[in-house]
Subunit: 429 residues, 2 copies
């Protein structure tokens, strides 16, 4: 980790920068995949799956027999753990339901909102070395709570044409039955445009590699909504001398092991803490199977000493971390001043790992500084509001003249006429 | 208007299509503007303003003297009308505030959310023939209610270098003081990247022409959030023999006058209504100053006869109109089955014009079928949620083992270690 001691504010924009990884060829390569799927549907998806996943898939949809087999192959301990996590996630997201009452903005003018589920949504779950069944819970549970009509899931097949058992178990647990063995940009294309076997959806959720992320960004040009723009995962930990240094090191490493491009930032208020924490990292990293990945991630990571607390808070808000662990004595005081973060973990016994899996909060969060304007996935990500208004004859009489004035000033005579014709009909009464 | 009688479902995708207007050169032209502003800041904005708005602007920010002069030049009738509208808009949006209470998802595991204002937002208001001061209210009021730290407004200068007085009056009324005389893609670029005189913001709101829309779409690639993707404005009216045909015609025309690319759809359940409504349109259109625009918009517009009510509702949900006027006897029954629409107007005395200006609902709404996944602008568009969790020692003991199980199954040993190290410290106690 690189160490910066009380860096002056005019250098902060460099210290809050994320690695820019987009490769030049990506845009063209992904557009090509999207176009092929759009044009040739299932046959293009089949070809691309053979090319990228090295497996020939005839029927994309996972069968009920496959799901049953998978469910039976998951150990009862893991099943129980997944059920516990699902229960917490469901409680937290169910509490996000809102009723909106009608408002009479003036006598005779009644306005209200109703949140309505997005009818068709698609969930993407990456495969590969770490099968993210936890993300099935994080996206599937709010989709089902929202009441989305059709929830489909795409995930790449392994080299034998199978889908990870824990992914299938989690999908079945949350009530998703339409699961397709398709990965990468071709999965995003299939959900965005539809094929004979994979239905078109209105909004696509889920993490993925650079190809998946680029594909999600590009399909928005065709009017398909996505959960949020995505970048590599990141954590920022604020620590002081009340922190347990081995906890801090473990939390930094649990982020670093995600990928070489993960970012790990440690903000401390005392120089003396830096060496002990670094030593803890050196010790703990030895036991990690993903040691090489974590080591590479740490090369781009930073320790920042900010002795002034106000500066430390300002720096965190400028960085806008996806995950923020506040591991200081006065964490309650600090957290009230944090305005930009995805999810915040308070105190010594709230590691990021617990939110990643099971506390109940969502782990699909804004990276790359997007927390300045975006929130993580929540129940409302699977819904949208419709607004309504009903104006009575009295309301029209009271409000109509103001609308005429404004339409006049905006030079929209047709708008004025729509009011005038009604006011005249009321005057005749 | 083109007439379609009981069209079979397999033709609906054509009937719900919007005109595709994107021109080939647009992407390159707008990228060029963005790059120039990004590289040369104010001097590029100055050059582009001279090129496109034909006026040389030295100081972009509108002075307090200019604002005072504008305020004094707005007639008291119009001031009063704007205040009435602002009051309704404020009431409706203030009612959208939400408190989120902490949830104990299991003993010792507490999760909550807090909605926090987006710190820096930018509002774009088009100039030109119709100065949309109503949009200043629709975006400025929720921005201020949300508590955004910095709210700036960009709008193009006229040929004498001035900004429309009603726009300045409305901005001052809602409390926006940083107003810049910049329009087009260069305004979006200035707000996205910042210049010496125009601050960088995190989210950009507001309507605009194709250049503005394209610029908004492109800056999202650099992590700037936008309110929503935009297309030409549109209305769909459902009418039956209880409708007042001259009201229906006036409402269709008030949408058609917006622009040649406006879309106007009329869904009727009885063939006999078509001619009388068409005749009303022919009569009323004569008096419109924007008659030519409205006539051109009507060329692409459609009357659709659907005698079966279920079909009519299914068609509306498939079209997903920005504005939906339900002008039928049983509008309460129909509205409960509408799942895709931006804003809905119920009954004979709720024309779109009243929502465009003053009922209290927001007029910044999803067009182009985006209502399938997007909502209109609301208070929460200017805020984002942060999630929090605090786990006690007891909570860690109860939940930690489940997280270890899941981390193991996802092959993330670092995540498991972050739990293990804490459970071990608790066992030692």
């Amino acid at each position: 980790m690189k160490i910066f001691k009380n860096p002056p504010k005019d250098t902060w924009h460099q210290l809050t920068e994320r690695p820019q990884l987009e490769l030049e060829f990506l845009d063209g390569a992904v557009r090509n995949v999207l176009n092929r799927v759009r044009k040739s549907g299932d046959s293009a998806v089949r070809e691309l799956t053979l090319q990228f996943d090295k497996v020939s898939i005839n029927t994309f949809q996972v069968t009920t027999t496959e799901i049953e087999e998978a469910v039976n192959s998951v150990t009862s301990d893991l099943q129980k753990a997944i059920r516990t996590a699902a229960s917490n996630i469901e409680k937290f997201h169910a509490a996000q339901k809102r009723e909106s009452l009608p408002i009479e903005t003036m006598p005779g003018v009644t306005c209200w909102r109703r949140s309505v589920a997005i009818d068709k949504v698609g969930i993407y779950i990456p495969g590969g070395s770490a099968p993210l069944f936890s993300t099935v819970l994080m996206l599937g549970i709010p989709a089902k709570l929202a009441g989305c009509g059709e929830v489909i899931l795409c995930t790449p097949p392994d080299s034998s044409g199978k889908v990870n058992a824990a992914i299938l178990f989690s999908a079945q647990l949350v009530g998703i039955s339409k699961i397709f063995k398709v990965g990468g940009a071709q999965a995003i294309a299939a959900m965005a445009y539809g094929t004979a076997s994979i239905p078109k959806v209105y909004k696509i959720f889920g993490p993925g590699n650079q190809y998946v992320t680029k594909a999600k960004q590009l399909v928005t040009e065709d009017g398909v909504a996505i959960d949020m723009p995505a970048g590599p995962s990141e954590v920022l930990i604020m620590a002081d001398d009340s922190s347990n240094y081995s906890f801090v090191a473990a939390d930094l490493l649990s982020q670093a092991e995600h990928g070489e491009d993960s970012q790990v930032i440690l903000v401390v208020n005392n120089e003396k803490m830096i060496d002990p924490i670094q030593n803890e990292i050196k010790n703990q990293i030895q036991s990690l199977p993903r040691k090489t990945i974590a080591e590479r991630a740490l090369v781009n990571s930073r320790v920042i000493l900010l002795e002034n607390e106000k500066d430390a808070i300002a720096f965190v808000n400028e960085y806008a971390p996806e995950h923020l662990i506040i591991n200081t004595r006065n964490h309650e005081e600090i957290v009230s001043q944090i305005t930009n973060a995805g999810s915040v973990f308070l105190g010594n016994f709230s590691p990021e790992a617990i939110g990643d899996y099971a506390s109940g909060t969502n782990h699909t969060l804004p990276t790359n500084g997007y927390a300045k304007a975006f929130a993580g996935v929540a129940l409302e990500s699977f819904m949208k509001y419709i607004t309504y208004q009903k104006v009575s004859e009295e309301g029209m009489k009271a409000l109509g003249p103001a609308v005429e004035q404004m339409a006049d000033a905006e030079q929209l005579a047709g708008h004025k006429m729509a009011i005038r014709i009604r006011l005249e009909s009321l005057n005749k009464k």
